[in-house]
Amino acid sequence: MFMDPKLADAASRRSRVTVMQGMVETSDDESIVLTTVLGSCIAACLFDPVARVGGMNHFLLAEPSSTQVNADVHYGIYLMELLINDMLKQGAAKSRMKAHIYGGAMIHRNMQPIGQRNSELAERFLNTEQIIISHRDVGGTNARRVDFLAATGKARCRHVDGSAAPAVKPTTLPARSVGDVEFF
């Protein structure tokens, strides 16, 4: 198979940044590819076509029966907000952002439907924030490998064997005390 030399050249100059669980990465650099592997986790990819800035987060909330549900929802919304704020700092505007969401699979048959809950949270957040979801590839039983060219908004999602997905582990809250108050 032959590849267009220009495309091959652009691909060879790209560097990949892995977005691990609990992380947010943004970029306006066309040579950067944000990449991740998802099982039950969700990755939201946001893109502003005018500012040519994009970003990805990657999270997994606890199981539906968890007593930590409230803190988890706070943390999921926090990671979405962190992604939006990091993009705003690079010149994006929330009103222009478009989203792709990936992941939320049920890799093991006897697993609780945490993937579904994660994708519902992401979808609800984006709807509430009036950010258009232009593409979604969620659910099912396969893991996913997502490559996102943040500066151009181009994404590629490949379904891969469930064994490729990282171990299922709810995203831990930040090490620092959550919500500590500092009085001036």
């Binding site: 704020n85 509430t128 500590d180 108050v181 500092e182």
Partner: protein, 123 residues
């Protein structure tokens, strides 16, 4: 009868405003909302709050601008203002302190700690 503490929350994220609304209503506070600094100032022209809780990164008028304008006003000059933000840099914190903020809370917030902070600054 004890007066209900009135809180104005200012955040451009509807999801965050909803989280705050639930957390504060459950604890007996009266909650009003604005989606950015401009809307908050408009609301404050005809209403008053005992405590203002504001985000920093917002369109039109951000949290810093809101704090400066509230402090420059005559009606709300002494109003306690808590900043609730994803930002944690010392530079931003100093800017908020210099503008006249009362306290700084980094998201994600803990409802109990937030309510304790409101109780401490409300009068």
């Amino acid at each position: 009868m004890e007066k209900t503490t009135k809180i104005l929350t200012v955040d451009d994220s509807r999801s965050m405003r909803a989280l705050l609304r639930v957390a504060l209503l459950e604890r007996g506070y009266d909650v009003s909302e604005a989606e950015d600094g401009v809307e908050a100032l408009e609301w404050l022209e005809t209403n008053s709050a005992d405590v203002i809780i504001t985000d920093i990164n917002m369109p039109r008028l951000d949290g810093f601008g809101l704090i400066e304008k509230v402090r420059a006003s005559t009606r709300h000059i002494d109003r306690p203002i808590l900043v609730l933000t994803t930002e944690s840099s010392d530079e931003k914190k100093k800017r908020a302190r210099d503008a006249g903020a009362t306290g700084w809370i980094v998201k994600p917030f803990d409802p109990e700690k937030l309510a304790a902070a409101v109780r401490r600054v409300a009068y």
